[in-house]
Symmetry: C2
Subunit: 515 residues, 2 copies
Amino acid sequence: MELNVVIILGLLVAITSCLEKPNIVILFADDLGWGDLGCYGHPTSTSPNLDKMAAEGLKFMNFYSTSPICSPSRASLLTGRYQVRTGMYPGALECGSIGGLPWNETTIAAQLKQAGYGTAIVGKWHLGVGREQQYLPTNYGFDYFLGLPYSHDMCPCYVCFYPQEACYDDCRPESTPCPLYENDKIIQQPADFLKLSETYSSAATGFIHQMAAKKKPFFLYMAFQHTHHPQFSSKMFTNSSIRGTFGDSLNEMDWQVGKIFDAIHGAGIAKNTFVFFTSDNGPSLFRGVRGGSAGPFRCGKGTTYEGGVRMPAIAWWPGRIAPGVTSELTATLDLFPTISNLVNIAVPTDRVIDGIDMSTVLFANTEGGRESLMYYPPNPTPSQGVFAIRYKEYKAHYYTAGTGLYPKYYPDPACNYTKNATHYDPPLLFNLNQDPGELNPLNTSGFPYKEIVDTINQIKIKFEAAVTWAEPEISKGVSNDSKPCAKPGCTPFPQCCTTNDIVPGTTRIIHPGLL
Amino acid sequence: MELNVVIILGLLVAITSCLEKPNIVILFADDLGWGDLGCYGHPTSTSPNLDKMAAEGLKFMNFYSTSPICSPSRASLLTGRYQVRTGMYPGALECGSIGGLPWNETTIAAQLKQAGYGTAIVGKWHLGVGREQQYLPTNYGFDYFLGLPYSHDMCPCYVCFYPQEACYDDCRPESTPCPLYENDKIIQQPADFLKLSETYSSAATGFIHQMAAKKKPFFLYMAFQHTHHPQFSSKMFTNSSIRGTFGDSLNEMDWQVGKIFDAIHGAGIAKNTFVFFTSDNGPSLFRGVRGGSAGPFRCGKGTTYEGGVRMPAIAWWPGRIAPGVTSELTATLDLFPTISNLVNIAVPTDRVIDGIDMSTVLFANTEGGRESLMYYPPNPTPSQGVFAIRYKEYKAHYYTAGTGLYPKYYPDPACNYTKNATHYDPPLLFNLNQDPGELNPLNTSGFPYKEIVDTINQIKIKFEAAVTWAEPEISKGVSNDSKPCAKPGCTPFPQCCTTNDIVPGTTRIIHPGLL
């Protein structure tokens, strides 16, 4: 970090510490790709509320998640640490997973609670349930949780669109029906997808108004189920988009975003509220027209190409964040230290925090402190280590791997599943500023290949020598007693796990496409 | 066309005919893809003047050229007619081409001249020179021409970047040096790329001020050489972009756009000036990092996939065109009738005009009259006919073909050259609203394949039965006496064709990449 950046940062921290504690809202989309929003260039999406947020705020061009899949990405967002440190690997937690985010991890919610904030998560958690529900959000600094503990395709899927259009998949029939939790209690099982977004919006806006009335600073982590497969939406948004089911889901999410902004403005707290929007990982291209778009980037969810981890991101805070665009290298990891510093709470010193305070980027639209970023595949192993490293505008791939389930006709073999990862020695090097699509590797014998790769190799060696891999929580497997069930011990399991009298399995509507 | 559209159109025409004659400016980029501008989602481009134009104007999401290569696309823009009717096929005109745009074609310039306009073309013509220079712009209604008669890679390439960086190619050493024409006279040969953009801007802005001073309505057709391969730029823009040489070229073009807007504002004529920006065809992906970006669309220049012909497009007219976005199907073809109607000049009735007046789209952001569009490959033949047809949100491919010169590692085989076109019977059908990347063809046995393809087949049969193919001008070949030469009859040909004493061939700087 250069000296002037340190000075600016110091001044910003000094100013910030004198101010009223800001409210913090994180809006987190699910499987939404870089290219899916109108303001990021999608030709048929409509996302008026997010586009407005972008026009009024700071739009990021080089913002990353740490994983091309869900649980690891969410763990990094909340803890500021790479997933290999928190044990959130390999893959994603399932219905019935025994493991979860270790208790000794500190989340943004825990930090803010320490600072006197009211804290709530509304939406998708996906960092564990466990045999004794010990991994639910209320154990990590959240005062309130309303939502599903994992992806909504990790349960059997019933009705996705109004009035009773079946979901485009039967998802996981072997799992218990999708449980809607309020704190540690299942209040609806199966969750009603046609009403879920409105339920979430009411909870989120209710929380905002409640906190504002109490003049209590708050943290709202709004983790949308949209636009994950299988897409769903309420009556209001069914067939609302020319983009089809994905567009309906996006429209509903954008409407939820609008409701949250309405609440912020309505409560008169806009000037004291920092809102950050991003997504957990790239689009599920393997879902065809029901997946999202990575825009100009290669591949999507499940890969360490840019399409898997380069995220749309927008920061908003009227009067504090000037409208604009930034190309600074930044990541979900950086929210933890940025927010901690913003509210003047020390970050834990007994562990490595991988995030870097991005206040200079946010509040002065100037140089940030991040020079490099690690890319981990869905299933990282200590023997392979990082798959790729970004350094300034360059990216070196040491390994690449496709992911399963791409349609057979998907034209780019790099995205498709192969049994083994491809190893590159020397690494494949791209200049992402000039070649965002990662199609034109730099010549290994030309300038500046050698000096850049030498630098990146040094970063890799230093990072990997120091990193401590936590026990892989997701390798602990699944058990029936970790599957959320409103009637513990009931039979026939799992269909009996319901808050209705009707056993949904017996009345399932089958999507015509699946017959 | 629905009745209400007819009524709106009638009203608009009635209103328009009472107004002062508007100035018309067409800004036409070269090989700029849908995804290359900041306002169309490119991650590292900067295009502040075009982005401002988009923010103040109407941005098109479904705007097309008629060809994935240069000459045919330009012929359609200026005449409102498909290239097979005007003879501007197969391929593109070369240095030395004997043929050119037939004299009996009527251009927008000729229409506007008839209406009393001053008319100028600044930049790239590419509709012919001919043995007696009979195809230069001054024969088609342009009062003034300053520019090159074809692409700047159709001559030997010397210096592209400041101070004397050689072009990334030697282009066509067998051609005469690039001739810069003023009207019918070569004023510089070889053209100095490092000063060309400034020369063009001065001419364009000078023309605007001159016309405004005379209170004469004018038509300026500004046909940039940017961002065609090999990219070049003046001192001011060399190394100006993090995107590299393509970015430098784009920055220079955007600066030229800014100069034109400055002139329009400076002359106090903004409220009476209609400016339309678009590009001739998709990006030269086969140029690697020195090609452009098709954004989320498949393939690029040379193919009839969306990447070849879906264009960025922006319409601007303060007070007349409201800021916004339109998804209406529109094309370069439509400018001819739209502009003719705007100035109340009848379109020729002795020929088919393929363009459709898009006034309702421009001035009311409502439904346009276009339901379908034909896609022709670079080398169309009557036996194959149209390669694809767009109908509403659908596109049926009857043939596809890749194009030569894609790098070997280009991952999508659909874009790459094969000897023969692939024929589809039944056609491949895509819903472009849901699947802009053309990756998920609709199931031929599912809904709505049959009814949509039946409709499109009928459109095809009707169109092809009626279309008259003109003699292919570009098949007439090349001759030395059609190659522009400042010293006719000189030796050694072609190097002697220069307005300098130094024969450039003897002092050529060779790009290190080519050694």
